[in-house]
Every structure is written in C-alpha cells, then in structure tokens.
Symmetry: C2
Subunit: 269 residues, 2 copies
DNA sequence: CGTCCTCTTGACGGCTTTCAATAAAAGTGG
DNA sequence: CCACTTTTATTGAAAGCCGTCAAGAGGACG
C-alpha cells in the first residue's frame, strides 16, 4: 500500500467462450452456499464474471470520489478498502478475499466512497451497476441474495467496530486472525488451520488501528503463548478456542436466512 | 442503558384506519427524498407502518441471539444497537434516529446479531421479514431502494470505523456530532444548528469507545474553543467547518444513486 | 429537603505510540 | 550464485493519550 498505485490494466484475456461450468468460480460457489439457484439465476450470476481484468499488486481498483459505475467480483488475490486521513494516517475499512464482491456497499451512492487497492496481484471482474436493474426486475431471488450478503457484510463490520471501539490490541488481533480464517473457510472449506496471510505488519496495523511496532509485539506475544505459529507468509492457528474467548468472536457466515427469499425467478428473461 | 431493560410492550394503540396520508411519517418522507414512488409502491411502504408499538425508555426492541423475524421502522424516539463485551464494557454500534429502519442489516441472518435498546421512549413499527418476499417479487423498485439505503448505512458505518480506528478522541467526538446533525437534517431539513441530544455522557462514551470522563473533557474543550454550545439536552454547532476539518467528515446522505433502479413497479399486486 | 443520578475535576497509572537503531529478509544486477 | 540495495521485521527506551480511581458539585424528582 506504500507502493505507487498503478493504473488499472484493462487487458482482458479472452475468457473461455460459452457459459462457464457451474461452480467454476469462487464467487458462484460462495453464492451457492447461501441459496440454491436455478439455471436462469445462475446465468445472471455467471454474467458477472464475463469480464476478467488482471490487476497488479498495488493497483487502484476503485478511486474514492470517482463516479461509481461498476461492482467487482474479486476472483483472485486480496484487496482492501482504505481511507487516508488528513495526517497521512491510513485505515483499512475492509479486507476483500477471493469470491467477495467489491462495491456492493456503494450501490446506493453515485460516487465511490473509498479507495480499493490490491494487496496482491489478482483478477477482478467488473460488472456495471446498470446491470443490476435487470436483476431486480427479473431475478428477484438473486436480488434478495445480494441483499442478504450485503447484510452479512454489514454485521461483520459492526462486529469489527465493536472490537475497535471497546477492545484492546490483543482482542483486535485475535478477532482479525479468526475472522480472516473463517472467511477463507467459506470458499475453501477444506482449508486447515494454516493459511497464507499476504499482509505486512504495517498493513495489519492499518486494519487494526495500531502501529506496526505494536502489531509486531502482539504477534510475538501470541506466538510465545502458543496461540499461533508464523512461517511467513503463512499463519497457523493453534488454539482457536483461546483466541475466540479472547476476542469474543462469533462466526456469522454460517447463519444465512433465505426464508424470505422470493420462491423462484420469473423465466421471462 | 444502565436501567433495567423492559420487556417489549405489545399494546398497539389502534392506528388511524385507512391508509395514512402520503408523507405523513418521517419514514416515508425519508424514502421519498431518495426516490419518487408511485401509489402502488407507496402502499407497500405505508404497510410497514401499520403496526405501532409504544416503547418505554430502556426497552429492548431486539435481543441478540433471538430469531430475527421482523424489521422495525423507528417512528419516534432514539435507539441504539449495542454489543456487550466480556468485561462488561459496552459498545454502541449504531444510533438510530426517527425515520430509520432497524434490522435492515440483519435481513440475511436468521438470528439477531445485536441488541437494540431504546435511548428514549418512542414508537416502533414492526414489519415481518416475511413480507419482504412480496416486495422483492412485486415492487422491485422498493427493493432497490432498500438496498440503496442499506448501502448508505454501510458506508456511514465504514466512515465511523475509520475514525474509530485511526482517529483521536477529539476527532471521534467531532465526527459524532456532525454525523448526528446531518442525519437529523435528512428528515428535518429546517432544523437549524441546534438539536436535542438525548444521550448521557456515558452513552456517548459507548458510542465513541471512550470513558465518560474523557467524553466530559472533550465536550468541555469543544465548548471552551467555541466550537459548540451545550444547554442540556440541547447542543448547538457553532463552527461546523472547523469540526468538519477536524474529523475529515464527509456527508454521504445527499448522494443517492437511483439510476440503476428498475423503472417502475409491476402493478399486479 | 433529601435522595439519586449525572456531570465535573484532579491525580495517577497503563496501554499504546513515537523515536531510534539493528537485524533479517527479499529483491536486483552482475 | 554472490555483493548490493531496499524493504520489512525486531527490539529498547521514553513520551503521551486516555483510562482508572476518587471525591465533590450540580440537577431532577419525589
């Protein structure tokens, strides 16, 4: 994030022709975990990934203040939404993992509220906001699914706010590690307790509102206490229960309610 | 919030028969500020306020962990979403003002994520989640409007997260005062710079992640610097620009994008 | 007029930051 | 594959913002 920000690279490697196989993508597999979709609905969703765009590390995917014209499905790599405050202090507002949607938040706004920056190289799939019209009109079930996911995001954000407001550095760090782990498990259920964490300690500091020095001290403490194990860039969670108690962490990603979803889509596309 | 929490009072004073006049409520007037609605659409929304329930100060509107079965339109009074952490520390996740919707966030979850407590006495209008089905099915424009509002809420939450993570006590306080003021202006455009703030200093502390002692010191400092004026329970903002610079505050509530909303509702209710 | 709640103010202490310097790791070019 | 450079991680010492503790003042309400 200290690197110069590259311009967006629009080169689109011609994606495989024809509809992709079901569940070919981390995005679709994430959605299907939350609700069964019929073929028509799946077609709407597949369309969101038609356009792949490669992004180098450090690239600015979304620039704050510019017109908000598209969403992005993050297909590979990690990204962050970030805000720079007056004094050059930065705060990471959200970490985006593969399979998550960037910009769902800002659907209601005409300008992008925050920067979104690639933490690693990766690929995103831009999807014009304008296409949402058809989804709301013709695939209400998919629309409801987006609403549900947006709600999940928001609850997760509120949990984070709680730990940022009332929590100590230890609690924030524990929450951070557990939350990333749980979210990685959503699209990657057979991931063990070890995962790749492509953030520098400075970056973790910007997520948690701590300095890099203190981040280092917390990580050292956790390691010495046998709670985690670090082999850069991999982290292994050794005592999830202890961390969970420490942070008061609660997993929200398993608890989707689709009872109120419209029964099925109209087929008049 | 230190008071014992009352049980929810289900006594429903028989509301005026027939549909309420358009824009009779702060909720409808807030929605209409964001998008024009036709009569059918308006009927859906009016239905959300059919059921008024009086709430005493301190009442628990939503209990964390219980099944999430309804949304609430907050018609009168103020409320907060609140989380209690292990050590009895509390964090207010959000302040709800009249005209705002409680529980839109949790639409995707089957259990309520957080408590919601009345700060003052007031009235709420419960609205079963199940009724959202019809809205998504038959009034996609209204559904889109909810999505947009939920997005606004989330962006506002992210701004708050930024100031909680990277901001000092002064900056948090400035942000808090400005944000409340802007949000009150949404449903009450001719409100001046003076408004009623029905929170004790302890409560403000729970919003900002500060102790009541430090809240008191910040308010004193602001007053002495001529930034605000306090005549309990009223606050007047004397130098909005200075506060705005201090907090890096940006008003998001004026910037709704409805370009992607479906053109009009189907009329087949 | 007394009780309770909230606000106010001071002194002290601790968690976290800041400053600074070194070590380790990662990237670069020969 | 090895010097060299740059970035990142590590560690110590001192300072600061904010929390804790405690006591008193002011208001609301019966």
């Amino acid at each position: 994030m200290d690197q110069p920000l590259h311009q967006r690279d629009r080169s689109t490697p011609p994606s495989a022709p024809g509809a992709p196989a079901r569940a070919a993508s981390c995005f679709a597999s994430r959605l299907e975990r939350y609700a069964k979709l019929n073929d028509d609905e799946f077609r709407f969703i597949a369309r969101m990934e038609d356009n792949e765009t490669a992004m180098p590390k450090g690239a600015l995917v979304v620039a704050a203040g510019t017109p908000a014209e598209e969403l992005f499905v993050l297909k590979e790599g990690w990204a962050v939404a970030r805000r720079t405050l007056p004094d050059n202090r930065g705060q990471v507002l959200r970490v985006y993992l593969p399979g998550e949607v960037i910009g769902l938040t800002g659907l209601g706004l005409s300008r992008n509220a925050h920067d979104v920056v690639m933490l690693t190289s990766g690929t995103v799939c831009p999807f014009p906001n304008a296409h949402m019209t058809a989804i709301y009109d013709k695939a209400p079930r998919v629309a409801a699914l987006f609403t549900a996911i947006s709600g999940l995001d928001q609850v997760s954000l509120m949990d984070r706010l709680a730990v940022m407001g009332a929590g100590t550095a230890r609690e924030r760090m524990a929450h951070f590690l557990l939350d990333l782990h749980e979210r990685l498990l959503v699209t990657n259920p057979d991931l063990g307790r070890r995962f790749r964490l492509p953030l520098r300690q400075v970056d973790i500091g910007e997520v948690l509102g701590l300095t890099k020095v203190y981040v280092n001290r917390m990580l050292k403490a956790f390691t010495e206490e046998g709670l985690i194990e670090i082999h850069r860039p991999y982290v292994r969670i050794l005592k999830p229960e202890v961390l969970r108690d420490l942070a008061g962490y609660e997993n929200r990603y398993d608890d989707v309610d689709h009872s109120w979803f419209p029964a099925a889509s109209r087929n008049d596309l």
